[in-house]
Symmetry: C2
Amino acid sequence: MGNVDWIAVDWGTTHMRVWLMAKDGQMIEARSSDRGMGALAPEGFEIALLALISDVLGQAPMPVVICGMAGAKQGWAEAPYASVPCAPPDPRSGRRVETENARLQVTILSGVSQSNPADVMRGEETQIKGLIATQPTFDGVACLPGTHTKWAHLSAGEIVSFQTFMTGELFALLSQQSVLRHSMALTGWDDDAFAVAVDEAMSRPQAVAAKLFGLRAQALLGGLDDVSARARLSGLLIGIELAAARPYWLGQQVALIGAASSADAYDAALSAQGVPTLRHNPTDMTLAGLRAAYSELEQS
Amino acid sequence: MGNVDWIAVDWGTTHMRVWLMAKDGQMIEARSSDRGMGALAPEGFEIALLALISDVLGQAPMPVVICGMAGAKQGWAEAPYASVPCAPPDPRSGRRVETENARLQVTILSGVSQSNPADVMRGEETQIKGLIATQPTFDGVACLPGTHTKWAHLSAGEIVSFQTFMTGELFALLSQQSVLRHSMALTGWDDDAFAVAVDEAMSRPQAVAAKLFGLRAQALLGGLDDVSARARLSGLLIGIELAAARPYWLGQQVALIGAASSADAYDAALSAQGVPTLRHNPTDMTLAGLRAAYSELEQS
């Protein structure tokens, strides 16, 4: 293994991901565990981190740069929010965390907040930092599909405004825990059913409320297979999101930063509206953002 | 105890309710258990029923008239659907169920279906039967708030069309299982927060998609207490339902058949739109419908 100079961490609600990094920014090794913020009390974070990295610690303090929900109120230690409009926060505004183990030098990066309409992000600002670091001239809109999809207006290196949609969480709850689960495949896709549903929801957003139970009724009455039902549910939810997010994407180019399956769905829906999209790997963007934060810390 | 001549049963997904009835339609005693359809395999239904009524069985077969999810595909025995437009189904179209115990004479009432838009009901048609039995001249709209709220156009004793909304289930999932649960009281109400949210959702239905996570963000940023958040979530969901159900209630009188808390919310939202409402006790309507069904069976 090469010389580990610092550690990059993306600490989410359900998982933590750790990358061992060389001085020059090369990633040496990726590690992960399921000890997300939601599963840990404050005193558990240092232990969970050491479980993944203690073998690479030397005598000198090891810089550890963390983004994500570890900085939430219920996390390891609360990191502040920077308010829009602002650049993705400087790491020196983040939270330095005192550790039991003197060989750790932990910084949790700040999140970003917006007062009106009220909104918050923790983690996505680092992916946006990565986007700006790798494409300094990008002006436009970033869409980060996920459990809580974020849309952000970016201009001149700053986040101008942003908006969060619970689309991913709604899809999971409705497809796995509601009465619709009886009519819904766990995997599989139907492009046409998705496209039609997006269109219906965008043109009459209130119809989504009426059409959800319709998925169950259509299945009971024999008119809808479980794979089409799954794609149709996704289409209804992404469609009402796109109707609400129209001020973000209309006439813009959209940088899509998300896992393949959900980014594919947004890509298809946006392309049908004639919106040009650029795809970015979300792990690459997280790492680029953490790298940028580390080098800012080093310069200070 | 008076002489029990027949048994009325409302067998839902999570509970069963049984009423011991006299020949003249008087209710002698109410009993209930948590052995709903969802907790039973087909062979469990007779046992669950006998557990509540075996002490009142005599030598002669006891008529048992059942409405609700016991007639679903996953229930005791599948009862058919009548298709709209139709009167609430005649009990003779229902499903006679053979029982091990010869002293039971079980009829499960039919549900009602609609082909376009696809929709189904099991149980609510019996409450509508009760409404029509007690108010034969009623012409207008019935709204049955609940886990799956139903709206039905009634005319000349028939269900002309209907539409189901998952509003109650969505509220339960979002308030108890989503990220919003951290910002949400389990009880309590705020009339103003509810009314404002209904109004916002009705005037811009797509905004509901954007405003859900806003409840969490507002709470985190200190701008929303947990009781107002609960009322506001309910208002957003009922508001988008009312926007979609406008063809049902616009210019109509609405018969509201639902438990106090949810019917109160619909009542407030409809009254704010200038829609006259009439409240009916849901248990009274179920019993009136089962009574009407029993007397039709007796006449045959």
